[in-house]
Symmetry: C2
Subunit: 187 residues, 2 copies
DNA sequence: CAACGACGGAACGGGTACGTATCGTCGTAA
DNA sequence: TTACGACGATACGTACCCGTTCCGTCGTTG
């Protein structure tokens, strides 16, 4: 019977190692070292670095984010931005997520896992938000949830992860208002 | 005197290697192998992998992108999106740029080089576009160029690099219109 | 035609990681 | 108390890469 405390220590070490050196440089030896564990303990549980990471990402997917229901489109968008900005400001997540997204371009398995764990969850939330707004009459029939997600999360991701600059005060409020304006715009 | 054809071969190999395996996995030996060159030829020119990449990125920065001047805010935004989408769809650039952006979080030198080569150029263009729109009366006085860049490029980057899905027909037109609507929105 | 210097190739010692095997130790369950 | 099995530690042979050194070749310069 595998000891659970050892398993947990390894999992935690993987996250730290991913954040510190990235998937490409991450090694089984480094994980075991950081976890204070023998290499044997790692290989007894997972066959490879890839399996190990896929397992962690999938565990993340199981959580499932709750969709906001504030009663207004602006409120829902603002709430989604709040959650997303917290995630992207987390020192570990803000390092691990972009790193795995880049690796996803080289490993289809990572791509699938990330899509299932993060992107599909967000798409679902966006779909709920848009549908509610349509029913409320705030958005025209047939509004596209994917496009909505681009407009809401794209600027935030760009600012936090690509440019990596601080958010000015009121930025999320502003961005939510801008997104609502852009979504409501008819072409 | 160093032979220029060898230098060019190495530079090309670095781009290919960066796209294929990423900065973290890239090795001097691999570059020389791909370039059909001895390791000596590489070390004779650059001291390290980092210097090599910084040199290439800086060369890119020297190009300098032209700011669009179409006469309307929508036209300028649409033109900027056109250029950006071409760059982010290029098979090598679309792999190299996100990879270096992630590495930038770990290497301040890369961060500085990328900022100088890409982000500052885009910021300058956004500033020109916004200033022209303000003079035209299309945007209110004091419109923020950085926020404009977030709203214009953010969604595109998200869609092309993060989600990595195809652009639906008319997506750029739509996005340009949405960005203009969001920018014009007063709060 | 002679000297020079960059070239590709090969080898160096040192470092890290791979995946596997073999220890002795220690907690647990029969 | 005995048997089992997961544990940490250590070592194995292989592979890759580091940065450097030496070699013989070859094109250019003078």
């Amino acid at each position: 019977m595998l000891r659970e405390d050892v398993t947990d220590a390894i999992r935690a070490a993987v996250f730290e190692e991913l954040a510190a050196v990235g998937f490409a440089r991450m090694s089984i030896e480094g994980i075991a070292r950081r976890a204070g564990v023998g290499k044997t303990a790692v290989y007894r549980r997972w066959k490879s670095k890839l399996e190990l990471v896929l397992d962690l990402v999938s565990a993340f997917a199981a959580q499932g984010l709750p969709a906001p229901g504030t009663g207004s489109l602006y409120g829902d968008v603002r709430a989604l931005l709040e959650v997303a900005s917290h995630a992207l400001r987390h020192p570990v997540a803000s390092q691990v997520i972009p790193d795995l997204l880049v690796e996803a371009a080289r490993h289809p398995e990572i791509s699938d896992a990330i899509k299932a764990a993060l992107l599909d969850g967000q798409r679902g939330i966006a779909a709920v938000i848009v549908r509610a707004a349509v029913e409320r009459g705030e958005l025209p029939e047939g509004a596209d949830a994917d496009r909505a997600l681009d407009l809401i999360v794209g600027p935030l991701y760009w600012r936090l992860v690509v440019v990596r600059s601080e958010l000015p005060p009121g930025y999320l409020d502003d961005l939510a208002a801008s997104a609502v304006a852009a979504l409501g715009h008819r072409h």
